[in-house]
């Protein structure tokens, strides 16, 4: 019963802030609402018995990614678009379509007999790390995947640096240098 109340509170916050993302005009407000939504989702993870995942959610998502996003929004000052409308003709039929889509999926969900299992394992740090790094199991398990993920992140970083850096000697970089 208590779990349900916590869940409802957190869900309301999550959905409410998600709606705020949809409706906010300035991206900065949107980003902040998104952080709120993510934090409440982290709470739900905890509630569901995956505290490690909730912590990671807060650290990586609400912390790192959203901070990066906010930073970029603030760096690019022109990001506040007063002249582009929030919604347009496309939105007019996208929103109903998505609602219908959600309704259909929901319909299917409601009819499906799912229920919590009593014997689930709590996704603690120990269990999670054991699952990730236990090579003794048959096959490589998640270890290789984990390493690949590391490579992916590294290359994403490299790509981001390459993309975003100003080309030395290019017209643009000279222009900005002139400004300074």
């Amino acid at each position: 019963m208590l779990a349900l109340i916590y869940f409802i509170v957190l869900a309301v916050i999550a959905v409410g802030s998600a709606v705020c993302v949809l409706l906010s005009r300035h991206p900065l407000y949107g980003a902040l609402s998104l952080v709120a939504s993510m934090v409440s989702l982290a709470g739900i993870y905890g509630l569901l018995g995956s505290p490690f995942l909730g912590v990671v959610q807060i650290m990586v998502y609400a912390g790192a990614i959203m901070m990066l996003l906010t930073f970029v929004i603030m760096v690019l000052n022109g990001a506040r678009d007063s002249h582009t409308p929030m919604f347009d003709k496309v939105s007019l039929f996208v929103i109903p379509a998505v609602i219908v889509l959600a309704g259909l999926v929901g319909f299917a969900l409601v009819r499906s007999p799912i229920a919590f299992d009593a014997a689930t394992i709590r996704g603690s740090v120990a269990i999670t790390s054991k699952t990730l790094f236990d090579v003794a199991q048959s096959g490589p398990g998640y270890f290789v995947l984990f390493e690949v993920l590391g490579v992916l992140l590294l290359s994403a970083m490299g790509a981001a640096v390459l993309l975003a850096k100003k080309r030395l000697g290019s017209v643009e970089s000279e222009k900005t240098e002139d400004k300074h």
Binding site: L4, V21, Y45, I65, L69, D81, V90, A102, G123
Partner: protein, 104 residues
């Protein structure tokens, strides 16, 4: 009244729908990115929710996969934002509809 597995799924569905709406109907490229993140979050939630319906060992899988998905999301956000910066530098606009260089 207890917390039912279906509630979690419905919450995930709602958030996913909102994320999709944000991603598709907003024109500001930052909102597009945020919408995508929101949708990803919803999917993660759904994973965990389903994991909890499985017995013992099987349930751990559903809680590991979101880790990967978060990491991939981080990579995606990293590259995506870099691209936004690059495009913004050339276009001076955050309107996603103006990015039509790669039309077929």
């Amino acid at each position: 009244m207890e917390l039912q597995a279906i509630y979690v799924q419905i919450l995930a569905l709602v958030i996913f729908a909102i994320g999709l709406m944000v991603a598709v109907s907003r024109r500001n490229v930052f909102f597009v990115l945020m919408g995508v993140e929101l949708a990803l979050n919803a999917v993660n939630l759904s994973f965990v929710g389903f994991a909890k319906t499985l017995p013992a060992e099987a349930s751990i899988v559903g809680q590991v996969v979101p880790l990967f998905s978060i990491a991939v999301a981080a990579a995606e956000a990293c590259v995506g934002l870099a691209m936004v910066i690059l495009i913004f530098r050339n276009r001076e606009s955050v309107d996603a509809d103006t990015y039509s260089n790669m039309k077929g």
